[in-house]
Amino acid sequence: MTELKDLEITYDKPNWCPGCGDFGVWISLKNAIVSLNLNPWEVVLVSGIGCSSKLPYWVKTYGFNGLHGRPMPVAEGIKLANQGLTVIVIGGDGDQYGEGANHLIHAARRNIDLTVMVHNNQIYGLTTGQFSPTTDIGEKNKANPNPIIEVPLNPIALALSAGATFVARGFAGDNKQETQLITEGVKHKGFAIIDTMQPCVTFNHKNTFSWFYERVYKLEEEGHDPLNRIKAFERAEEWPLRKVLEQNQKERIPTGIFYKEDRSTWEDATLQIQKAPLVKQSMENRDITPLLRELM
């Protein structure tokens, strides 16, 4: 049985700001690995660059900390080389919705069996608070003195339309739900994305923990059917907003599973790995004589 202590590294500890939402996601991920009873050496956490992308350093599994925006294709390569591994992609809104958005779209289309955890704090924290693709419309701050005019990217709708087969939103203030979503996401055979609202306590002064507590609600408590694709799009449209609200108005933010679908995965359709993962197949002594003869 895998226990929490098996996942702890002894030579370092997280250096996120006190109160950072990343702590909640970190704990939830470890809880999920324990509840799924995964062998730590069969889990690979693949991340990009940003505060949240440091997470793999602090979980004792295999890890790959790559380039900004590029963890997705690294994870896809790992999964195709050895589909027996549990591969989890970790990144922020800059990684997944900015620099790496193209990779997100295509990985979702392929329905490769990955779980993607996006720590969405709606801001670039590590570089001291610039806007991200999910920053609310109308926001301004020190780095951007004029109100932002871009409509925020809607990660749920994007993932749905791209073909993701497990689409969920979590909140770093609800570890129980987050653990459950990660667990379900990993169990799901196919491309699972969990957009997790993770307040940046240092640079995002609007979307704080208390701001979210006043707005989040759980989809399952309102009878949402995650098998209904059209309804999933309708729920996705509830937030983020495409305009600035009046003072007395308050948005509602759905959390939980928006959509689930059974569809064959990229690995299923890759004939060469049906009998065994690539890395378990012999590459020795290949006879290429027939190929040379064809050229005569």
């Binding site: 295999y62 900390n65 790559g66 790992i78 060469q272 590459m283 004589t289 005569m296």
Partner: protein, 581 residues
């Protein structure tokens, strides 16, 4: 002596390339030494395509100037190539499509009028099959037996079924018979079949076959001229050899997928051209920093930006040597012909895995898309003697007993034992950040220096195992040519034609651009009379490397950057001029 150069020209979309390869195959089956070279614009329909095929009963190494048989599928081909037709040559054209004026060719040139279009109608074939009629007509000019083409068509179209084979046979036989019955006087350059067992291969195919033999397991390739042939050949054989080939959304995804697969333990490859490589650059550094083995094929073509996408150049030398921020070790190898491409590709995989670093195979359009004959035995014996070397890749049982495994352990030769995910006891993190022995990010000054030095020690460890550059020709020759990559082909051709005139040449052919063979190059430079650097770029990137590493300046250089490869005649002329100086 037979030395026949044939050219087919016409609009793109009329199967010019297929026909060209077919003619190369005819020469190959007749036991000749063959070289072919194709020129085409970057579009699918229209524009001018020209396919040169040269066959000889003496060993040849490149295309040459002069066309002995010109097959013109349209007037444009006549206009573009009429001055290239040699004395006593022949032109084949359809008079209903192409008008040829009497003054356009000298009287020594045989005009072979073949009603290509009418013949296709007569045999019930599509009008697009005029190329097939033309190949039959061409064969009839220089060889008596249709059997050789019959066998090739049956082999080539075998998978497409009896109907397709028969259609092609009918069309080409009709062209063959037409020329046999109508052409008088006979064409002077006849071919006699030899008994040589050659195969016909492009460097693109050679890279693919080398990779397959070397144990390639994963490739992620975004299409781009001139490496598409690599992808096609691998894909067609992927299921036989257990190789996963994916077409990623872009080159950045491609290289990162390959890095991921390699990190997980699969032998991985990416292939691209300069534009795609530009996108891959940051990730090249990632492979180096995480010490993940990776083989990158970079097929050069004229840049910058889109440049001339279907033409050739050697303009990315400095780029691949310095690509990506920071200092890190890499190995860069430039094969000189298809056989070398085959061998170096296999070597590249072993080097990448033994030294845990990126290895770049620097090739170009000219090399990748030209076909040449190679004795079957040469490639099969290279394939047989190849052994996969995985370096310090740990076995499951070795990792299982580890108590404090360090992925980036600071060891004497710089090469840390490597675990892969799934191995119990080998848990570690591969980090893009500078890191300590566990892979944990580190900004410590001492650790930074240790890790930088460790990575470079791997290159020091590799150097003794890297073969010196090849030295060909006469030691006492008055001129030593120094070059790298695909220029080997026309240089060899020039050397053999100079030898026929009694002029001896020495040729130093550098394959490893990094680590650069400084001592060997310096010592050859030192004992050479005149030195001539030949390279296919404007600024002398390779010449600069020689000066940088050896301190020697060369006597002269020959450069070209018009998108075309060197012709042996240009080298011969240049050498003769240099000798007079």
């Amino acid at each position: 002596m037979t030395d026949l150069q044939w050219l087919i020209g016409g609009e793109a979309g009329y199967g010019i390339v297929t026909t060209g390869v077919m003619m190369s195959k005819i020469f190959t089956r007749l036991g000749l030494s063959v070289f072919d070279y194709v020129e085409y614009p970057s579009l699918i329909r229209g524009g001018h395509n020209a396919y040169y095929v040269r066959g000889s009963d003496n060993p040849i190494f490149s295309q040459r100037k002069g066309i002995d048989i010109l097959v013109a599928l349209n007037k444009d081909t006549i206009n573009k190539h009429k001055d290239e037709v040699s004395e006593n040559g022949a032109i084949i054209y359809d008079p209903s499509v192409t008008k040829v004026e009497p003054q356009e060719f000298s009287p020594s040139i045989l005009r072979v009028e073949v009603p290509l279009l009418e013949i296709t109608k007569k045999v019930g074939a599509d009008h697009l099959m005029i190329n097939t009629v033309a190949i039959g007509a061409s064969l009839a000019l220089f060889y008596s037996d249709f059997g050789v083409l019959q066998k090739i068509l049956t082999d080539v179209f075998g998978k497409k079924g009896e109907k397709v084979i028969q259609e092609n046979l009918n069309a080409s036989k009709a062209g063959f018979d037409y020329v046999k019955t109508h052409s008088a006087p006979p064409f002077k350059k006849q071919v006699n079949a030899l008994k040589q067992q050659n195969l016909l291969i492009s460097a693109a195919e050679a890279v693919a076959l080398g990779a397959i033999r070397a144990g390639l397991q994963f490739a992620a390739i975004y299409p781009m001229t001139p490496i598409n042939g690599v992808m096609t050949t691998i894909v067609q054989n992927a299921s036989t050899y257990g190789i996963v080939v994916k077409e990623p959304e872009d080159e950045i995804a491609g290289i990162n997928m390959a890095i991921g697969a390699s990190f997980a333990g699969a032998r991985s490859l990416v292939a691209t051209s300069g534009g795609g490589f530009s996108l891959m650059v940051e990730s090249l550094g990632l492979a180096a920093q995480t010490e993940v083995p990776l083989v990158v094929v970079e097929g050069m073509r004229p840049g910058p930006a889109t440049g001339m996408p279907t033409w050739t150049e050697q303009g990315d030398v400095r780029f691949v040597l310095h690509a990506a921020q920071g200092d890190f070790p890499r190995i860069v190898i430039a094969p000189g012909d298809a056989e070398e491409a085959f061998g170096f590709t296999m070597t590249a995989f072993n080097l990448a895995e033994t030294y845990q670093l990126p290895v770049i195979l620097l090739v170009d359009k000219y090399l990748m898309e030209s076909h040449a004959t190679v004795p079957f035995e040469n490639l099969s014996s290279r394939a047989d003697s190849f052994r996969i070397e995985r370096g310090k890749l740990l076995r499951d049982e070795d990792v299982a007993v580890q108590t404090d495994y360090k992925r980036y352990a600071l060891v004497e030769d710089g090469i840390s034992p490597r675990s892969i995910p799934g191995q119990k006891g080998g848990i570690g993190l591969a980090g893009s950040d500078e890191h300590d022995e566990h892979g944990l990010y580190s900004e410590d000054a001492h650790m930074r220096v240790s890790m930088m030095d460790k990575r470079f020690k791997k290159l020091d460890s590799a150097i003794p195992h890297i073969p010196p550059p090849d030295l060909y020709g006469d030691e006492k020759a008055p001129v030593t040519i120094v070059s790298f990559g695909s220029t080997k082909m026309p240089i060899f051709e020039a050397m053999s034609s100079l030898a026929r005139e009694g002029i001896a040449i020495r040729f130093l052919k550098v394959s490893y651009l990094n680590p650069f063979p400084t001592e060997a190059v310096a010592s050859t430079m030192k004992d050479s009379q005149k030195t001539l650097v030949i390279e296919n770029n404007k600024t002398g990137q390779f010449e600069g490397l020689i000066r940088e590493y050896t301190g020697f300046s060369v006597s002269d250089h020959l450069r070209k950057y018009d998108g075309r490869p060197f012709y042996p005649e240009e080298i011969v002329d240049h050498v003769k001029t240099l000798l007079k100086k």
